[in-house]
Symmetry: D2
Subunit: 337 residues, 4 copies
């Protein structure tokens, strides 16, 4: 068996507790030895549930825990900057959930700290570890569709998060919260994005008006290569969690994504029906597990991460540019951000 790595997990909210379970049960090389959360009860509950020796009410507890070999960050995005910088200073390897942070200045500071400390940093974007999205990448690289010329992405959530979450200071706005995944996949498949135009509005949930955010946005963009892209994001995918990507090339097209959860068809006088994927844990459970295993493999084998801190910054840059385009009502150059 491979050498076990002692993990400290920072942030034990909804996603953090899922990660705790994955680290304990599905990542053979991981030994989850410490968890931290600003809400101490959350950290304690998770620690007890999974027999984790130590829990703390601050990321510093995990950082300073001498047992901890490597850190996984699933805290609130607005705290990523401080946690990453502190962890880097402690010289511990970092896995940080998306989005990296909410502002480009912060992101650049984080990179500086990571570079100065010389620590390993892996940016989280689980879609790249999904069987479907990674098969598309492989087929592109194999030349199955010739030269890719158009990217199309959709991200639709089945329900509105709490309004508080939508405040730009918490989520960074809908584009940064949702489309950053599509931008990362788009960049992975087709390279950097040059210019972008976004239009959006509050079209489905009037209560979103009060937050200053949108609930639907469509975007058209160009890649550095001249290739073209489109992404639409929506809070009202009320029929199910619908995440798609398509790449049209000169010799064919590739489509990733599916809606069906249970492999059963119901046929009655009302028609032919199947169910849908309810939400992200059902859709991307395997991808999260694969991503965590990949992080530990990289640490063991001293291999580079698939997604670097620069990928984190570049995805954020596109999201910031698109958000600005939305405000200005005009196309913008991504390089200017």
């Amino acid at each position: 068996m491979k050498k076990m790595i002692n993990i400290g997990l920072i942030g034990t909210g909804r996603l953090g507790s899922m990660y705790a379970e994955f680290l304990v049960q599905r990542v053979p090389q991981a030994n989850l030895v410490a968890v931290a959360d600003l809400i101490p009860e959350r950290a304690k509950t998770v620690a007890e549930k999974f027999d984790i020796p130590n829990w703390y009410d601050s990321h510093r507890g995990v950082n300073c825990d001498p047992q901890v070999d490597a850190v996984v960050i699933t805290a609130t995005t607005s705290n990523h900057k401080e946690i990453v910088i502190d962890t880097a200073r402690e010289g511990k390897p970092i896995f940080c959930e998306k989005p990296m942070t909410l502002s480009l200045d912060d992101a650049r500071e984080m990179k500086q700290a990571v570079t100065t400390a010389g620590v390993f940093y892996q940016q989280g974007y689980m879609r790249r570890f999904d069987k479907g999205f990674s098969a598309v990448k492989r087929k592109i690289d194999e030349g199955v569709i010739g030269t890719p010329v158009v990217f199309r992405g959709s991200s639709r959530d089945p329900f509105l998060p709490e309004l508080n979450y939508l405040l730009p200071e918490n989520s960074g706005g809908q584009i940064l919260d949702m489309a950053i995944h599509d931008f990362d996949i788009a960049r992975w498949y087709m390279g950097d994005i040059r210019s972008i135009y976004a239009v959006g509005g509050v079209l489905a949930f009037p209560e979103v008006e009060s937050t200053g955010d949108t609930d639907n946005v469509v975007m058209a963009f160009t890649f550095q290569s001249g290739a073209l892209g489109e992404v639409d994001i929506s809070r009202n995918g009320v029929y199910g969690y619908d995440i798609r990507a398509e790449v049209l090339g000169t010799k064919g097209t590739l489509k990733a994504g599916y809606l069906r959860d249970t492999p059963i068809l119901v046929m009655t006088k009302e028609g032919v029906t199947h169910d849908v994927v309810p939400y992200f844990p059902e859709r991307f459970c395997e991808a999260y597990v694969t991503q965590l295993n990949d992080y530990l493999n990289n640490l063991s084998n001293e291999t580079d991460p698939l997604i670097t801190i620069d990928d984190g910054i570049s995805g954020l840059q596109v999201a910031v540019a698109a958000t600005d385009s939305l405000k200005k009502g005009a196309a913008v150059n991504v390089a200017g951000y």
Copy 2:
């Protein structure tokens, strides 16, 4: 049986000869009595093939033929203006293929002539008569998806037309040639379009450069209602004729379109495969026939057309605006055109 209507068909190229066959074999109320084409051999060949009594080398022949009760125009787009104006002056009902014409000034002159003459005018857009696209409209009207908020359309042709056809003076450019269908469907489902942004390029067929046209374009737009839209068009749908539309509403989503031609699945070690719809005659044959039957029903029953001359002008206006946006690299207001 209903009263027969004597039809004169102007334009007997590829689409015109298909129409001749439909009028003879699939439109019970139609009696095709005359055809015209600027290339007389084409008119003659069609006339002989279908036992049509009269053929002419100019639309004026059809217009002046006293037997002709109503006219169907499938001539080259650049000749639509002259033919429509002349036919209107002869007081004959008009069915005119899309696009109506290549410039908004021409379109407005055509409307003037039609209005002055008080003749019936039906704009051709066969997609509205397709089982799939019309089922989407019906479901929207029934409220199945609540309020529509995002429209997504794709039009992909399986191969490049002759370069000569791509010259802006012939086709009006890729947007006008292809996306005008998507705009018509978008307007039908969700009302008028307010602003539009287009980006495109020559990405698949370098030879298109010489024509000044594009081979791929993506567009993001807003409707008057505030709803959002996206359309992508491509000349390199090399895998098959791929025409789709999706409408996301507050309660669900509707998708029209399909790729499968033959209802057979082939499963071997290479995977599970099915074929695709080769091109528009296979995909929209029934829709063309339904549209022609609808035209004759409207004439018999003195009912208004589903698609008016104003729909022709409005679709063209969006296409002209989008083409201008493509040139300017900026979003434009449709009303300014």
Copy 3:
């Protein structure tokens, strides 16, 4: 244009009037000059609807009409024998709908009359002219699935016919009425059938008990080649008209059939839904038209029919054997019938 052939149509019930419409509107080479029906009003109505010059109250009227070049028989099955024998004696080419007749003795008499008269006879089985079923045949012949080893067929009707129709003397029983199509397709793909076992019952519609017929039957059989087959037939395909065939070979499998009528997907909180093919006219309309065109082509070109009188007899023989197996509760050899 090809030489027109004057057709006399015998039987103008539900299917017969569909055929009248097809012959008038979709079979360019056909000139429908006479119709006959034992219910004279039916013949008259069809004649008036389609401007057919002559109508008769007996097949003899059509047979003796000197204008009639060729006959199409869509009369009640129990009258096929008399009509075919009489038509053969008049020396006119025959297209006869399935099933050929209800008893093997009758079928053999019919063959004798046709052979003696030396007239052209084409057995109707429209499935062979369906795009899907014929694509399967083509793929088998191309070797795509290696050697075919298992055939699976399903025929499910969306509702129960009138009870009177179910009486064995009218329909020949459920197997003869429904599975004869599956047997014909099975034989086409894989050769003659050697032995068969059938079990069935009245499982969905208690009122069928009174007729002595079944409403569901499943059958397992062997081909002469040693290959295996299964067919299930049902009167309670209440969800839609569901006709399928699958051929498993040594290198893959082929599946024909589909349920979707309109190319639209509806996605709401209730799941993802599409509609179904309602009944045979929607499913096989094109196949009927193709079959009629094929008949006329065979007459013009003096080519042999795809489906011969021997195919009619062989399919019937399997159906008779299966019906006997159902009664006996034991497997039977087809050759013994």
Copy 4:
């Protein structure tokens, strides 16, 4: 956290090592403390790989290990009888993989031992724990399709096992080896099976002749309720692991099964293609894990198993009857076995 249960695993071949991994990593309540295999190296390798304290070269080692609370049997089928009887005598709860054993006499002896000892016995049939197959059961129970009247099952393996495995004394023959799953699902959905008819042959792999086994079998059967069934099994599902079930009822039909492994569609000039599920570990991994969790839950909560020893016997009885029908070429009554 729930009380942990110490598990002893007997049999560490292909399936047994999968089970070891599941018990260690995916079944939170399980504590795998001992493994046994007649090939000691296999037991040792698995023990070392998963840090399992004890390993033995015989099931008796596990049975007598005082640490072991409960047993999981994944040994060769021909050893099931001895292992189950010995384990029952030790008074330990038993989970036993399918098929229970190869002869009905043995099965009845096993039941006697289990009953006498009063130990818990859960028969393994992972399909009942699959999301798709269990959703079908739920929908039937909810009345979605009315009364079930026809069952259709298919089990197709993507390649031939080693010839040695096919010898009747090892696998019990193809029906017992493969169709026993279909019979269990059929019985779960629709009750006991009354009579059965099987035909089969060596159609794809001539080398199977030497074993006396078949490579393809089709079966038609009746349930006690009068309902009907069909199952086909094949060793030449060379295109992928294809496991399906369909239940036709008086109000609709339900279909379980799927072929697609990766959610990606590839569309090129060659058509639209997707991949397939390669084999059972990919298809039923989740079902195995769910089944093992269910076993431990039953032990903790003292609940009855979903699949009892009588289900094990009844499924075997149908398989034995079908195998006999295959030999005799005649339908047989299941009760007579």
